[in-house]
């Protein structure tokens, strides 16, 4: 049973720049994943406006019966969100770690164009290692 179903990275204007699914559950085709990404971007922005308290940074966790959606927004507005099984504890740190990988292997890559889809071999390799490690840690608990 995979701990994390799928991972999305969206740029500051709501475009999907990276999508990866783990396992067959919750797999989406390209159009659906693009739609979900822009929808989430808008909902995130609306939630900031709706908040009665000032200084709200948007939805961090969406809980449903069968899945949890964890979201992490970087200071520059790039959002990382993952669909995972309910009740996962360490998702925040995993998303932060993925952000770290993004800054290392995507932003420091001279062949990456900002705001464009991510196609970096090293990012893929390190990401799958991180998710694998996270899965092993889950099993150990």
């Amino acid at each position: 049973m995979p701990a994390i179903y799928s991972l999305y990275i969206i740029n500051k204007s709501g475009g999907l720049i990276y999508y990866k699914d783990y396992g067959s559950a919750g797999r989406m085709d390209t159009n659906d994943s693009l739609r979900l990404a822009s929808l989430w971007h808008s909902m995130h922005a609306i939630s900031q406006q709706l908040s009665p308290v000032s200084g709200c940074t948007g939805i961090e966790l969406l809980e449903a019966d069968t899945f949890d959606l964890h979201c992490f927004q970087s200071l520059t507005g790039t959002k990382f969100f993952a669909v995972a099984e309910p009740g996962m504890q360490n998702m925040e740190s995993l998303l932060k770690y993925i952000y770290e990988l993004y800054t290392d292997f995507v932003l420091k890559n001279p062949f990456y164009e900002m705001e464009m889809p991510i196609r970096c071999e090293l990012f893929d390799i390190n990401l799958s290692q991180a998710v694998q490690k996270d899965r092993v840690a889950m099993l150990g608990r």
Binding site: D104, F105, L107, K108, N109, P110, F111
Partner: protein, 214 residues
């Protein structure tokens, strides 16, 4: 008694001992700077070979300076005059100062006498770089190849230096090999001592000078 604990003042900047320098700089800062260097050069060229050449030229000036500095700082103003000496100087001293470690291996080419290879499992400049498939065999290690060429050229061992990706069995990522192919005139230096060869050259030069005077 007077001036104890005071740093010695030098009237002339040239009398001052050369400092060891700060040993480390931020890897991130370097990675971003190098990334920008590659991106800038990419806007100036229209093919990959040209980009490789420009990166190598940028490295060449680094190499020439590094040789000068390290000969002074590490070697007491002496410069290696033997082929193997300069190669191990590049492999250990230069690599250690630039990348904080000795290069993984230094080998002699099996097919050609004049070829040497320095291999790195993960070259520092390539740590964060994924070359897209459509760029073929392009390797940003061309910059490091340029540094090596700068050092060798400055030391009097002209060579053609190139960087290549070499796939390793059982490894996801290829390693980078810096291939050094020495110019023809360098080859004799290995067997004959540099000095005697130079003496011979001077003699030849003298003779040619005398002949027109006759």
């Amino acid at each position: 008694m007077i001036g104890v604990g005071k740093t010695k003042q030098y009237a002339n900047i040239l009398d001052r001992p050369i400092s060891k320098g700060k040993q480390e700089v931020s890897l991130s800062a370097f990675a971003f700077l190098f990334s920008e260097l590659v991106q800038y050069n990419q806007t100036q060229v229209d093919n990959i070979a040209e980009l490789e050449r420009r990166l190598e030229d940028a490295g060449y000036s680094v190499g020439a300076r590094v040789l000068e500095l390290l000969c002074h700082r590490e070697k007491g103003n002496r410069r290696e005059t033997r082929l193997l000496g300069i190669l191990s100087f590049v492999h250990s001293t230069v690599w250690k100062v630039l990348f904080g470690k000795v290069a993984d291996s230094l080998e002699k080419g099996t097919e050609h006498e004049d070829e040497y290879m320095i291999s790195e499992k993960e070259l520092l400049v390539n740590r964060f770089i994924s070359v897209p498939k459509d760029m073929g065999t392009f390797n940003c290690g061309a910059f490091v190849a340029g540094i090596v060429r700068g050092v060798l050229d400055g030391a009097g061992f002209p060579a053609v230096v190139t960087a290549h990706f070499v796939p390793v069995e059982g490894q996801q990522r290829p390693r980078t090999t810096i291939l050094i192919k020495f110019a023809e005139e360098v080859l004799g230096f290995g067997t004959q001592s540099h000095k005697s060869l130079r003496k011979k050259r001077v003699q030849v030069a003298d003779q040619t000078l005398i002949i027109p005077g006759k």
